[in-house]
Symmetry: D2
Subunit: 320 residues, 4 copies
């Protein structure tokens, strides 16, 4: 039964206590709550910054395609790739199937299991991470996080993304192949890099941050996963103020890990996903874009429509 | 050990027998074998018709984008969707994870298991189906079909696809919302429909066939899965002669099922995948394209880079 | 972080509200709560009725073994078996693995996925079902139900079970091969059947109820799963008062489904698991025991030690 | 279609070649083949040494139960346990399910995926490993190893095992807590240990070998998995000659790894499983038995009836 029904079964007094409880359980004060919802797209919105995707942005992206060159930003999903915590990814090819017929058709399937939206190159949806029990637009996980899938904020709500993409090469700005293991990228870093690239960010853009950390992928997975340079809260706020749609990077969490403020866990995720409805794209391969100094391009990605999922795997592309 | 090593361990005579065996096991005569390999792209090629994708085709597709309208061709992956045989698809949201910190970050993952490249909207790779033991370019399944993934013809070899897309609305040609349950679409049907649409097929195009069968998806799954109208061998040969890259449809196998020739199982799969290296895209949603009479568009799809997989799920898009 | 830590981060007042909340959230009044915990085995106990298993009961079971006849009570796990809701069970044999060596060792694995402790013949642990948020011994699911496994009441705590087993053949009592589809077995039914079998129940026993419903397994799965005859609350209380360790049956939920009181869902599960720490064994094959009129036997079952699992699959045996 | 049907579709000559092929493909000469099949239990037998299990052996085991003490020989299945190659084991607890009703029943499932019969404490069935393409009783993997399960030699054929168990403590014989990392246990070692224990092996027994290697489990998994002391071919032949039913050990492969003869891979598996139909039980916990000097006991284990599986997980018990 859904919570609403269960509530009916409780005496009025307990009902009142439950009301109080919901506030208490969220572990944040109403004051804090008011900071971020209802969202600018209305109290019923489930798509967040995807609302910034318009035919105009599609055409803006189209106009950036001049040479017909396509860059794959997605990593290969394979056994042994860097994995967070106890997540897993397994692929097996079953014995060959034979189809009846004189033409002897034989075929193969593949059995895959894993935290599919949260392994390898992954696109974080708005149901992935919240502040206490409250997620984007004030949706309470105790309501929408159901065993068979999220009943709100599922990745199937996002839709295809074709928009202007911008690469901010912070490693280049710092004159390094790779930023330090726990370097916090600041708003000033982003602004300086953008200036050096003669690029500005526009509403609805997808911004990819190149840290150089991605060069460790499948070369030194232990180091890659242990910590990572990435944007801090201030840089994230800068991007949120620019009204972007997605923030991606060539590291495993987009944000700096661990956060310089040891008391904080994944604050950038909270700022972008929960407070601003802005998506994250992690474990991207931005090496070729950086190598070729491609700072502006058409970013194209359509999340797998996994009903009720928290994220999506995929192979986003940059076209110029 | 791989087969090659094992062979070394066999006495010469047994070795000779094995040589004979390989031919016998393939269940086709050398004569037949010579029909389709080595491929036109060389004996080492693993990408087949994906070799037809060029910057020129990307620009050709780009020029078809005039309104910035995006159509999702991918179905939602969900419990209860039509499934072939005993394949399965399962998604569960584990209990909420809590991250240490005063900011109380909480997050969700999703556990997914299934024949991922062969459920729902699926893109068939060249390692999916063969003729006896021989697949595209004469690759022998006993060599490349390994338990941890295909060592050749894996879906990760395909790369992103951005090219001209063409919709052939055969249902419209026949003046029906939906073709009969086991109607074989002929080459003449395709030609007539193309003529009525004033569209021609060019090398490297992706051709989508609208049968109307897709309207049964999640409405009458039993009927949808039991049989299906689709292209026959002659129509497939017509498309192969046009040098297309992918053939897709709004049914579960692209081809007519069962085949009018009861002695044949999946002959169109063999003709397109094994003999011509042309990919298949199944269980597509072509309803909106047909409704809006969009017969020419930019088709964009980047298969999930699942190392050694036979196919890929996904959400291909048509942009105009 | 665990909830305890998070609580520290909440202002005192919110902390008080949360305290109130915990009571409210459990959706039962403290009065109700006091009915069943702390358990008779102490507030820290996680094994419930498994505490009734002693060397004396093992020897009592041993003395029932006179002919050396072994009965399998477990069903075969296979594709297409009756399944509750959207649970799944999948088994695939990957391509053959080859081991390097002149002796040409080749081997097969199997890839299995599913709600393993809750499909087919299944043994319900104390972490499976509760009353509101409270489970056996008052453990709160918001504390112990963690994504990577239950941190309390996991099936690994049960340990092997070798004890006296008793079969109560209610179908025989009623002179039927099979009880009606939603017949509620009463305490009087159990007593009458026991009397006709000249059997009494002793503390620590495992009691299996034969309803005849199991004869539908893999013969008419739709009927088998739709409803089922089984024990009602009063019969369950009768068995709890007899201080048994496990209650099993040849149906999918042990208890009558739906319950004659339409406002109740799984009340027998709550009475046995949550209030009395008594385990359930579902989807058993009791046909041979009933056929041979074996009413007393050694019941032997060792749950799979799946850390943090809610239940266990298995093949319990009855030996006489 | 099954191979038989497909053969029909091949011209007579190819048919003859295929016949030759089957012999050649097995990678062993007919001469070798004749060594081990048909089995002593007939050409149709699928149970091998399980045929040695009789009511008499059950009663023999029963008579060894004198104190009612039960030892768990199975390890806990958990994340991070030693794993062979790229096998995996994953368990997750989905969000809590709520059942409609005024009694507010809530329940948990667990989602498990992995090579279930071949991870952790595992019982190897006769379909697990063969000599070339030939397995126990000459069954050819190209016939019975089907994607949805083994059509012969599946673990469901074994049935419950209750028989006399014997522990051979070789570590104790050598005066060590643990044998060297790659020590090959000889037939003489087994005989000497048996003599020191005043125990003899009888037909139908289950023999467990204590090497002490198990003390590394979850303490030093890297060392545990890298190599292991265990029985060699001669010791295995000694046990086969004693007509045992199962050979188990506290290591990951029962046999010494790597084999002193570098050209051999898993020869003991071949000798016991393929040639003699004797089962293997791996990753057992024999520490308590060794500590208490329990050399004779009732061994009880009922493999999970996973249709078409190669092995079974489980928690075998020793009772005395």
């Amino acid at each position: 039964m859904n919570r609403k029904n269960s509530v009916r079964t409780i005496p009025a007094f307990a009902g009142f206590l439950l009301l109080v409880a919901v506030i208490a359980c969220t572990s944040i004060t109403p004051g804090e709550a008011q900071r971020w919802y209802p969202s600018r797209w209305g109290a019923a919105d489930q798509r967040g910054a995807a609302n910034r995707l318009t035919p105009a942005k599609v055409l803006e992206a189209k106009d950036l395609i001049k040479q017909g060159m396509v860059y794959q930003l997605g990593r290969v999903y394979e056994s042994g790739m860097p994995m967070f915590g106890t997540r897993h990814y397994s692929l097996r090819i079953p014995q060959t199937f034979k189809i009846a017929g004189s033409n002897q058709a034989m075929y193969h399937d593949e059995l895959v299991s894993g935290e599919l939206g949260q392994v390898g190159t992954q696109f974080d949806g708005l149901g992935h991470l919240g502040i206490g029990d409250l997620f984007y637009n004030g949706n309470n996980r105790t309501e929408f996080a159901q065993p068979e899938g999220l009943t709100k904020l599922g990745i199937e709500n996002v839709g295809p993304i074709m928009t202007r993409g911008v690469l901010i090469d912070v490693a280049r700005l710092k004159g390094k192949a790779q930023l330090e293991s726990n370097y916090e990228i600041t708003a000033a870093d982003l602004q300086a890099a953008l200036k050096s690239e003669s690029i500005e960010i526009r509403p609805g853009d997808v911004v990819l941050v190149h840290t150089g950390w991605g060069s460790l992928w499948m070369k030194d997975n232990a180091t890659y996963s242990k910590t990572s340079p990435g944007i801090g809260v201030a840089a994230a706020q800068f991007l949120a103020d620019k009204e972007v749609t997605v923030v991606g990077a060539d590291n495993w969490g987009v944000e700096v890990n661990p956060n310089p403020d040891a008391s904080l866990g994944a604050p950038v995720h909270q700022l972008l996903l929960a407070r601003n409805g802005i998506y994250l794209h992690e474990n991207l391969n931005t090496e070729e874009l950086a190598r070729d100094a491609v700072y502006e391009f058409a970013y194209i990605f359509a999340p797998l429509r996994l009903k009720g999922a928290t994220g999506s795997p995929g192979n986003p592309i940059a076209v110029r």
